[in-house]
Symmetry: D2
Subunit: 335 residues, 4 copies
């Protein structure tokens, strides 16, 4: 039975607590938050759990083998570092840290200490993303050509990070998970309509040596909520709409083979070229799968799906995007 | 009765012919094309119309007061120039010319000759765009903040122009028509998946001094056809979906007034903030309205809605976008 | 070259004229209508066609081999009868006649005269219905269990027929075409909100010996236009949405095989059981196919798809439905 | 503090327990179920609650003022009767009882004992239904003409009741709540595709003296889940789609005033006549509102919204529908 402590019981904390409670082979024994009210809430919902205002009481507790960190991003590095130094396995909320330097340092430390360091990219555990991963790995799409994601809604205007750092990590982590290639260049543009100058609308473009283009459109200012990703290969194209209750993934035949023969002349294509296939995707809570993968990784010493390398890569891409935003939106090589 | 000649009877020609036939106060007396078969088709459908293989027979025909040019873009300049020199009013297909230099030269000539020079931005005559124009001009949206357009489908891979020159003119003309301000900078990025290196996926971003950002996403490689534009003001936001048969325009209350009071702290906003209103938009053929505006302008000596200044501005924006595409996607000032 | 006359040039007439013009192997030589204005319109669009105010000039014209009757339903019988007596092939608009007695008499006469008698059920020629027919005939759906159709909109309140006679023929003809079995009983209910007592909302239910139930919901009073049909088999279920531009037909796996094993106990089924498949359906004008089938039938002496037996059956079903409406909605056997 | 006992902890029980826990002014002190496993589950989630296998321990507990009965419908009558005799207030799951005789008897007993007897029509507490109620009561729709509901999905084939008793109560309770008039006649038709002869597809029609027609279409055999209700008045029409996350209620102008002037002649109406308005409906758990209404009614001695008269009426309508199903679907007067 792996004993777990949770540091941070804000918006996401209750979901983590509830899910770790339902995973076999572990038990949450203590929750920490700086706000007494939040702790009372945890106690009310889960009377068996211990509560504390001091992170140290979790970090220095010898019973506890693994710590879940769900605090604001600015504290991720110092808390995760302390936990690793105290020989705990660590699961940290996304994004992993506020810079790639911090993220790299944590990775080195975890390696030295031989501990699991994982980032909560819940998204990668959804059955829809798993299905997409399978289709790509089996080469059903053919050569990947583009990834185009729209993630917009009337959103929480964050006071410390812009819309890219808030919304794009979902798509970037998916991209890193699905595409086995580093981007060649990164470019971003955006606008702020608030006094704090943090972008509330932004567009991120990644280019790859193999010819893939990835474009991510983020906004907190859209009256319509959209979560739509197109992943185009030269054989098939996937449309992934995360808000669709029953048709999350649609697979379109492109009919590109027809086109290649006619390469030299114009080609008028109708609305659709081929058939569409909609696989059944079961409903299941990805957060529970993520929690299970953390426990499994601790036991097996294998890397989890949402591993720290993806965590680092996402932070790196966001950093370069930030530099592009400040450099007249120009493309910056991903070194 | 204004007598009209049409040069070019390809894909769009029959629509122009049919619509000018139905407009009062004008009559199409001659159609020219280089392909005999196309002319036979015109004759079959409209037995009263004259046909010719020689553009000169239209340009030098003293009876003809106005000429409609529906040929490939490379010939727009020379044909329109000849027509203006021969004292004809000219309606030219979009885009107006293949460079802003050409477009400017035509405008100067038209001014000197005191002739109408109009570009067929049919789109601007649709009742949906007219409704949007009215809403913006009455300040119902409040301060405009963004314009975000997606125009993607499995499309005709053009052999002479990239996807921006093919699809973006619709959105750029709408932008020039709706926003009474020149952009400050233009930036574009894209990719080509074909041997001819013409982009089949591209993204265009325009920034304005007043804080507006405009983003246009174009693709010939999407299995889903989307024609969706969001126009966001600080009071209301319009969602314009041109493929919707009955709900083309949706107007969303943003509830931004509530937000401004809470500017300093975070704000969690739900799916929707306010009510939605869907005005009834009648179905009507915009091409006929465009044809009528051409005839009306000739008679009244007033500028048409789809005037040559918009035509020039669209070409200029496309030219700068092209330069950005070749300069690591960086922002280029619109001079 | 089969020469054709058209009697009746109202709402549907121009579509018939245009399509018969484009069919090879026939030519429309004369059009008749009681309104001079309509004839002038025909002449303007098709200068080569003759016009007349006298149906007799078509019926007694020896050159004419086939007549298309597109007049109000009350005149179908007498006009079709005169045409058949004059040895013409006849295509009559739907519904075939205002009673089954009339329809039967026309069938006998056509048989005696060895002429084609066809009803314009354009619908049966749509590629969507053809695809459904193929799927059913290949037994891909398994045993058919139900047919459920909704055909509602804000409609033309007809002054001579109720909503069932106006809208249901589309569904009933489809039903007769797809299901190779006569109904066992017919039942209808409805309401009139107008002074003329003609139902503007009505529901029609047909039961079959094999266990099929068919239900057709018709309304002229719905603010939403719906054209949706579910055809359920024990293996697969088709959803046919005629207003969908690109996904007219969706084929659902039912997963019934799983269920049958658990017949004896309750079964909680989620939103969807199996995969969905959306075949590509080309866009094509069914009216042209119908026109071609008429000409082909005349030449080959074979029955057309939209044959007079289906025409008679539709009228018979409507007649019985009418009796049920007047008999406290009770089920009436289809004899 | 009103003390509550819950009898029955099956599918719905946990939702009831959780919601009554969150209501102020009451506390659930004991839960009863015949299955030990279910009780352990309750205990795990709510350690403070008492558990028992004996309903008597709740019914005869003097501390308990109010009992919630969430058992199968066959036991509703006897349990509710025992609770009322023991001077408890009673909230019973829908449908209230298995016959109108039973429901009437409970109502009489509750009246004699001066206790609240309420039926859990959660639906009536949804903000969407509340909005519709307000619109109708303010006469915004004008004279109501029809109510048309579709409630279909791939469903739980119940082993004791048919699809009407399973799904229609939602719509019938809404109908009784919204329309202040008893139906004049009831008619039902349907089919069973299973060996137990319980209808899995059924259609229910109610007619009202004032000219309203209500039609409810129920199916456990549809691959598509639909929850759609149209409520048509002569001024406005509401479309209520319960599966829509953000546009549950759409209000359509009918434009009927235009029509009435032209009553005598045909009227061709386009897709839509007037504008559409989509009010914002907040998300909120109706079950909590229902629980609060129960407690409020106990304290104030006022009738709850989901009162026992609606409960009785629903059972009565279902009974008559059942008789119509067995009498060749004929209309039966509602006495």
């Amino acid at each position: 039975m792996i004993k777990i402590g949770i540091i941070g019981y804000g918006y996401w904390g209750p979901n983590l607590l509830r899910n770790f409670f339902s995973v076999n082979g572990c038990s949450v024994i203590k929750v920490c938050d700086l706000r007494k009210k939040r702790l009372e809430l945890a106690k009310k919902q889960f009377p068996s759990v211990g509560i504390t205002l001091q992170a140290g009481e979790i970090i220095n507790n010898d019973e506890i083998e693994a710590v879940v960190i769900a605090t604001p991003v600015s504290s991720h590095y110092s808390l995760a570092r302390r936990c690793l130094l105290a020989d705990k396995h660590v699961l940290v909320e996304k994004p992993m840290a506020k810079s790639s330097r911090e993220a790299s340092a944590l990775i080195s430390l975890a390696r030295k200490k031989e501990k699991i360091l994982m980032v909560d990219y819940t998204f990668l555990y959804s059955l829809a993303v798993r299905k997409i991963k399978k289709l790509i790995d089996r080469n059903e799409l053919g050569k990947i050509q583009y990834f185009d994601s729209t993630r917009i809604n009337l959103g929480l205007f964050q006071s410390d990070i812009n819309v890219l750092w808030d919304l794009a990590p979902h798509d970037i982590s998916m991209l890193c998970h699905l595409i086995h290639e580093n981007p060649r260049s990164i470019q971003a543009t955006g606008i702020s309509h608030t006094v704090n100058k943090l972008e509330n609308i932004a567009y991120l473009t990644l280019k790859y040596k193999s010819g893939i283009i990835a474009h991510i459109s983020c906004s907190w200012s859209s009256p319509v909520k959209i979560r739509m990703t197109l992943i185009g290969g030269d054989k098939k194209i996937i449309r992934y709409d995360d808000l669709e209750p029953t048709e999350k993934i649609k697979i379109y035949d492109t009919g590109y083979n027809i086109r290649s023969e006619e390469k030299k002349r114009k080609l008028l294509v109708s609305y659709r070229v081929g058939d569409i296939y909609i696989p059944k995707i079961d409903n299941q809570e990805p957060l529970k799968e993520m929690a299970e993968d953390f426990i499994k990784s601790i036991k097996s010493h294998n890397e989890p799906i949402a591993n720290c390398k993806i965590g680092l890569k996402v932070v790196k891409i966001l950093e370069i995007a930030q530099r592009s935003l400040k450099s007249k939106s120009k493309e910056i090589p991903y070194q």
